[in-house]
């Protein structure tokens, strides 16, 4: 471990630990409660006490939250909603019981999900809109402004106005399989993760391309900084931050590289207020990184369990993280 800092300050033993006994696949905060999404069936609520909320009759494939509720999609073909007090209800059931591969939350309480090649949007009023992609929908996210959904698929992405009946979605073309998708907080840039270890981006005003490469593995985790000036990414043996502060985004610029380690970064989560990033590694370590000077604090020691979920509460005073092997921790800072 010659590369890693010999001694960095550690908060690891201050975290509260919960042995979940099941893989953790996601994490959201509802107020002061950390909610761990488990690989199968349940959500685990951790506040003063712990309790489990059944959500699906099988694997939980996708989840999203706006801080007031959690939307989940399962291999039981259900889209579910869970409230902060642990009330669960079914919002939609796929008529063919197909897997719900993706979910997203948008403005005005709208939600989106996908099953196979079909993307669905349900408006606040409960109206359902559908969009058929040419290939399986691999990722969904709403744009920050306007009522518009971005959809990642094979050979590019589509931008769809669910309320514009009959209008053709705008197509952003780039060869290859696009999996994850995100839009910058200012709505100017769209970025996809690809099957290859690379990101692809478009400046939306003119569809100009951006290629962000150099990763050692497929990028599976993305997080925008609080000010929207950089995009934190997993997929390398260091934290890669792409600059999005100017009008050209990362075009022709180098990323900032922090938190170097021997193990691969697998999950990233930017602090909601400060220029600090929580970084989860494949060897189980979680480190907090200050962007300004690469100062590190250890939040979880490496123990060989890949970190699989990581997130901050709304104020950034609590960090929670979980592993593939079911070790959940909540750390108050």
């Amino acid at each position: 471990m010659s590369d890693t800092p010999a001694r960095i300050p550690s908060l690891a033993d201050r975290a509260r630990r919960i042995d979940v006994g099941a893989p953790i696949v996601g994490l959201h905060f509802l107020g002061g409660t950390a909610v761990f999404v488990l690989g199968e069936e349940e959500l685990l609520f951790v506040s003063e006490a712990e309790h489990r909320v059944p959500a699906h009759a099988g694997a939980i494939l996708a989840s999203a939250s706006d801080g007031t509720r959690i939307i989940t999609g399962g291999d039981d073909g259900m889209v579910g909603e869970t409230s902060p007090d642990g009330e669960h209800r079914i919002l939609a059931t796929d008529e063919k019981k197909r897997w719900i591969d993706n979910v997203a939350m948008g403005p005005d309480d709208a939600i989106a999900w996908s099953a196979g090649k079909t993307a669905y949007v349900r408006t606040k009023k409960g109206e359902l809109r559908t969009f058929e992609a040419a290939s399986t929908v691999a990722g969904l996210c709403f744009l920050p402004k306007g009522f518009r959904l971005a959809i990642a698929h094979y050979n590019g992405a589509s931008l769809w106005f669910p309320n514009a009946a009959g209008a053709q979605p705008e197509r952003l073309e780039w060869k290859g399989s696009h999996l994850g998708i995100t839009v910058s907080p200012d709505g100017k840039f769209l970025v996809t993760t690809m099957q290859e270890p690379t990101l692809h981006g478009w400046r939306l005003v003119d569809a100009k391309h951006m290629r962000m490469s150099g990763y050692s593995a497929r990028v599976r985790s993305l997080s925008w900084s609080a000010d929207g000036e950089f995009l934190a990414t997993s997929g390398s043996e260091q934290l890669i931050l792409w600059p999005f502060d100017g009008k050209d985004g990362p075009m022709g610029r180098q990323p900032t590289i922090l938190a170097r380690a021997e193990s691969r970064v697998v999950v990233v989560a930017c602090h909601p207020r400060q220029p600090v990033v929580a970084v989860g590694y494949a060897d189980g370590a979680v480190r907090l990184v200050r962007v300004e000077d690469d100062a590190l604090i250890l939040a979880r020691e490496a123990d060989g369990q890949p970190v699989s979920a990581l997130g901050w509460n709304e104020t950034g005073q609590t960090l929670a993280f979980g592993t593939e092997s079911g070790d959940a921790r909540v750390l108050a800072l």
Binding site: E40, A59, L61, G116, T136, E196, A217, R218
Partner: protein
């Protein structure tokens, strides 16, 4: 590469075969045998499979090109997604079976396990099993390139519906299959009846299991008692049917190789001829190297490692095998021999 513990990875068996050959019959047989195992089954059509204990997932068979300028680097996009989802239910099944459509090329399925790091970290490709229709395969080999691919790519071949052909027809068909793929394990079956241990747990892509590369002859196969009189092709007397397009090339040398020449040569070969090379395998003896080096590959993807020390009683031969279409044996031989130290 420090390979994660291979034993902890979920094995994946790929079932191929042209339309009507008996894939679904074999699948149902595997699922219904009293073996106590649970499977996750990835199929293209729900319907004839209905086993309560197993997870059945519907797939769309989406073949995606990788964005690296290589036309043969394709993956099954749906498998990447489905396996990621299935692994959330790890512990609920012991193995995965992927049934492809009759027209599918097995290569993208196989390549998914080598090209996608997340899939490869959790699962391992066990074998490609092809079911062939004894009565109709010969016709399909003439008019359906997919059928030829499925035979050439296979690790295990079931010649099914043997009750519908004469022993002479069966012998001719098997010679035809051997002309395309001399290395697969071949079984004669009726209604896809076979010991499932001949189909599952084969470790055909496991570098540790590359023991020897010898053509697999029928008489090493003890599972066709119903055709006990049908052994007319024995050992070296096997009559080869030379396919005009698809063939295998096998080259051996007893002289040690120079790794600094071999690796650039093979990388260049698969970079240029990768689209034509379906499978390759090799056992190599490098000069001043006490360990056997083994490799295997699918199209342009190569996977290789030192395997174990050569044993004192072992002949240090180097041997490579390619199965593919329009391969130049002479060119490959010259290239390989130029790597001799």
């Amino acid at each position: 590469m420090p390979a994660p513990d291979s034993a902890s990875k979920i094995p994946v068996t790929v079932l191929t075969g042209y339309l009507g050959a008996g894939k679904t019959t074999l699948l149902n047989r595997i699922l219904s045998e009293p073996h106590g195992k649970k499977f996750a089954v990835i199929v293209n059509e729900f319907g004839e499979i209905g086993i309560d204990n197993d997870l059945v997932v519907n797939a769309d068979e989406e073949v995606f090109e990788m964005n690296n300028g290589c036309i043969c680097c394709t993956v099954r996009g749906d498998l990447v997604r489905i396996i990621d989802g299935l692994m959330r239910r790890k512990g609920k099944f012991d193995a995965i079976i992927v049934e492809t459509t009759g027209l599918a090329d097995p290569a993208p399925v196989a390549q998914t396990f080598f090209m996608d790091e997340a899939v490869g970290a959790k699962t391992k490709l066990d074998a490609v099993v092809t079911v062939a229709d004894a009565k109709w395969l010969a016709d399909r080999l003439k008019d359906a390139p997919e059928a030829k691919n499925q035979i050439a790519f296979a690790d295990v071949i079931l010649v099914n519906k043997t009750d519908l052909v004469t022993p002479e027809e069966l012998g001719a068909l098997e010679a035809r299959i051997r002309g395309l793929n001399p290395y697969a394990r071949l079984h004669r079956t009726q209604r896809a009846k076979i010991d499932i241990n001949e189909v599952l747990g084969r470790n055909a892509f496991d570098l540790d299991r590359i023991l020897d590369i010898e053509p697999s002859f029928l008489d090493s196969d003890e599972h066709h008692h119903d055709h006990g009189h049908g052994h007319h092709h024995h050992g070296n007397g096997l009559k080869h049917y030379h396919d005009e397009e698809m063939q295998s090339v096998s080259i051996k040398t007893d002289k040690p190789l120079n790794p600094d020449k071999f690796f650039p040569w093979i990388q260049d070969l698969v970079a240029k001829d990768g689209p034509n090379i379906l499978r390759c395998k090799g056992i190599l003896s490098f000069k001043d190297d006490a360990e056997r080096f083994v490799f295997q590959g699918v199209h342009m993807i190569l996977d290789g490692d030192h395997q174990r020390p050569w044993r004192a009683d072992e002949k240090r031969d180097s041997r490579i095998v390619f199965i593919g279409r329009n391969l130049s044996e002479e060119k490959i031989r010259q290239g390989f021999e130029s790597c001799i130290a």
